[in-house]
């Protein structure tokens, strides 16, 4: 194979001619700009890049990318993208979805895409609300959420999207925030480099129906004490002064947060995204409380597992390698296989 040619693309090349129509102030603008700026880095021709989305505010995303794109139906983007990806391994296929789209109506397709390890980059814009339908609670809304459809407060417990993805044994799981462009791009970079399903939850602000849902993670006065920035190979400490850390207490099932001064340095968990057992990343995903304290962001898990696409294409290639005839000859042979008889 020859060396890839530098395509010299810019963010502008990825902007379509369509007017962007999200509400002013929506977190989606920041994500769109970050992705348009990031895409040239991948050095993948625009024509080999496809964005597939479902339904919801975030799912308008493909219209604004000057690549191939499909705005499909509610919840089904992972299924449609699976058919595209597995039959066209030359493409870079991205799924853009939201919390209602991916976790409510499309929950089944999401978990099956992840367990199959289809070569999709799945970006879940989580704003914890239904925006396009004007403000009903979503499957990631906190219990007791008062919305148009739940005037007395929602009664059902939310999904933790990362826990769910990890339960499906997703091979790549990450989280980032709409307003932190640098971090967002770093997680996308790792996702893009990953072979197989890469699941990235992006905390996104809906300033109309759920404004400030992630404010503690963005406000300069609180964010350092709330956010755990995961770095592969680094001890997990956080807080403005590194005053907190993550430990695995003997006898405990999961991970816990301690004051750094109260533990010995060797007790602090060193982040390893390549741990095969999803239980470790799952434990990380369980750290945040209802108040968003101890929210890890970054790459939780990135393990090597053959992608569905590769296994299927290998099977096809192996079968085709045995072929010595033209397709028409093969077909004639197939039609005439089994018990035949001839009438003269």
């Amino acid at each position: 194979m020859s060396e890839p040619v530098a395509l010299k693309l810019t963010a502008k090349d990825f902007k379509s001619d369509q007017e962007v129509r999200w509400c002013p102030g929506c977190g989606d603008y920041a994500i769109l700009a970050a992705i348009q700026q990031f895409m040239p880095e991948l050095n993948i021709p625009r024509e080999r890049t496809v964005f597939v989305s479902g339904i919801g505010c975030s799912s308008r995303f493909p219209y604004y990318m000057n690549t191939y794109g499909m705005h499909s139906i509610h919840g089904r983007a992972p299924a449609i993208a699976t058919g595209l990806s597995v039959s066209r391994p030359d493409l870079s296929v991205w799924v853009v979805t939201g919390d209602g789209d991916a976790l409510s109506i499309g929950g089944n397709h999401l978990i099956h895409a992840l367990r199959r390890n289809v070569n999709l980059k799945i970006l879940l814009f989580n704003n914890r609300i239904y925006g396009l339908t004007k403000g009903q609670y979503s499957p990631t809304s906190e219990v007791g959420k008062v919305t148009k459809s739940t005037p007395a407060g929602s009664a059902d417990a939310p999904f933790n999207p990362l826990s769910l993805a990890l339960g499906a044994e997703a091979s790549f799981v990450g989280r980032t925030i709409d307003s932190d462009r640098k971090h967002l791009q770093s997680v996308l970079r790792a996702a893009a480099e990953h072979e197989g399903s890469a699941f990235v939850e992006i905390y996104q602000n809906c300033n109309i129906f759920n404004d400030g849902a992630f404010e503690q993670l963005k406000d300069p006065s609180t964010r350092d004490d709330y956010l755990i920035r995961l770095e592969h190979g680094q001890p997990i400490t956080f807080g403005a002064d590194g005053q907190f850390c993550v430990v695995h207490p003997p006898g405990a099932f999961g991970l816990e947060v301690r004051e750094t001064s109260s533990v010995r340095p060797e007790e602090i968990v060193v982040h390893d995204a390549t741990v095969t057992d999803p239980a470790y990343a799952f434990a990380l995903s369980r750290l945040p409380g209802l108040d968003l304290r101890n929210t890890p962001i970054g790459v939780f898990r990135s393990v090597d597992r053959p992608s569905y696409d590769r296994v299927v294409q290998d099977q096809l290639a192996a079968a085709k390698a045995t072929v010595t005839e033209t397709p028409e000859q093969q077909l004639a042979g197939l039609l005439g296989s089994g018990d035949t008889w001839t009438i003269l």
Binding site: V52, R76, S87, L91
Partner: protein, 615 residues
Amino acid sequence: MTKQIRQLDRVVIRFAGDSGDGMQLTGDRFTSETAQLGNDISTLPNFPAEIRAPAGTLPGVSSFQVHFADYDILTPGDSPHVLVAMNPAALKANLADLPRGADIIVNTDEFTKRNLAKVGYQTSPLDDDSLAGYVVHPVALTSMTVGALTELQVSKKDAERSKNMFALGLLSWMYSRPYESTLRFLERKFAARPELVAANVAAFRAGWNFGETTEDFAVRYEVKPAKMRPGTYRNITGNAALSLGLVAAGVRSGLPVFLGAYPITPASDILHELSKHKRFGVLTMQAEDEIAAVGAALGASYGGALGVTTTSGPGVALKSETISLAVALELPLVIVDVQRAGPSTGMPTKTEQADLNMALYGRHGEAPVAVIAPKSPSDCFFAALEAARIALTYRTPVILLSDNYVANGSEPWLLPDVESLPDLRVEFATEPNGDDGTTFLPYLRDPETLARPWAIPGTAGLEHRIGGLEKADKTGDISYDPANHDFMVRTRAARIETIPVPDIEVEDPDGDARVLVLGWGSTYGPIGAACRGVRQRGLSIAQAHLRHLAPMPANLGEVLRSYDKVVIPEMNLGQLAHVIRARYLVDAISYNQVRGLPFTAAELETTLEEVLKNV
């Protein structure tokens, strides 16, 4: 001893036993032997949905009927001349279908007190005179099979399980069938267990020899080969033919076939068959549900494959939203509905034609698609090719309405010459099509087909976005313009309505018929047989059969109006009749049955004669 040989022109045999007795396999082998001989054949398997219903009970009875003749036949036969009953349940479940004088071969070993009680026989029908009107051949099938295998190293259980081959051997002898292909089949099937090859072959030979030596079977029969068109034939079921048609569509279009499917009776065999043909570049995916199956197929079509999904009625209901998306996206998609008795789970292994309304109308919005129905097992091959042709040429979803009767029934198939199959090659868009030479207009249509360009990802310069939101004519941009929506809705309708399909042909050998029987799908055989019967009584009747249900043939209205009466038999409550009345204002007579079984020619014949009396 030399036995008398009697010539027959046709025979209907029904093999019936417990669902674990291997009756489908026995029937299949007998059919294959019969095909080798050159008889015309039609078969009807009938089995419960339960894999192993409680042994010896009526719900557990599985049967396989084969009709063979020295002339061309159209149905698996109304009533069997011979019933092979492997146990009391099989006798009881099938007796009502037998005409007086029929032969009944019973496995006496299974007529125990316990087995009789299971199906409510107080006394054995073999011992009282309840079978007096029939020719009963009591055969100790199980014990004779076990006896024939004593020298072999097989367990008693495996020996007993070979009894279906004893029955096959006996019937093969009775009807002078060539058995070499069965011996070869057994060698292939049990290749990994040579002792089972030996056991089954020995059981088969024991059955054959029993027929030759016992005095109970004094007559041996022959049915001469039918006069069939020269060529190479194979016996084929509708599901197998449909699968091969899809493989052929891949070869003739040069496109990879992508099948997304979720297991469902009676369509799963298509998934099984296509999963074997990776050498042709056929990619199959067993999806997590029906919706994902069609979604993945549509995704593959978007990428330039021939996307196909196979299912039955309940699955089509689930796929409906995605089919509407495919209508909006204007991409090729083939949806195969192997119909079964509904609603809901209904009777999954029984046949029905009640999904026509769903195929024609079962979507939200104005979402027209093309609909095709094969008329016989072998026609499933050509119907699949035709579905692919329409999908690829007109960039539209096409629903292929098979049903359990043609899917599992079989008939001889004259193998087509591959070069004679339609050329399905398509051209993907490669260049901008706008007037300025640089713009790509994804919804600029071909003036003749009204199809939009198929620009697949990977094509530089044609990057574009499509979706379920209404699109502006030509540009494909999102549009809420009222006039544009009206135009697009009408254009999508016209795109289907103007697909050229062959004129409907009328079969009226006497040329003076005043009554036309119009059918669609799998009723072709029974209607044809009934019309023959009517004509043999000196009456005139015309038959026409719809293969294309959307769009309908251009000459259909004219044909319908040229008869005094139009009769439409359907295995539903009149769905086609409803369409015909609405579209053509023809006061058609609707004749309906929804019993989960195909029409018998006899009952249709009676109905048609009633209509003829009143013309």
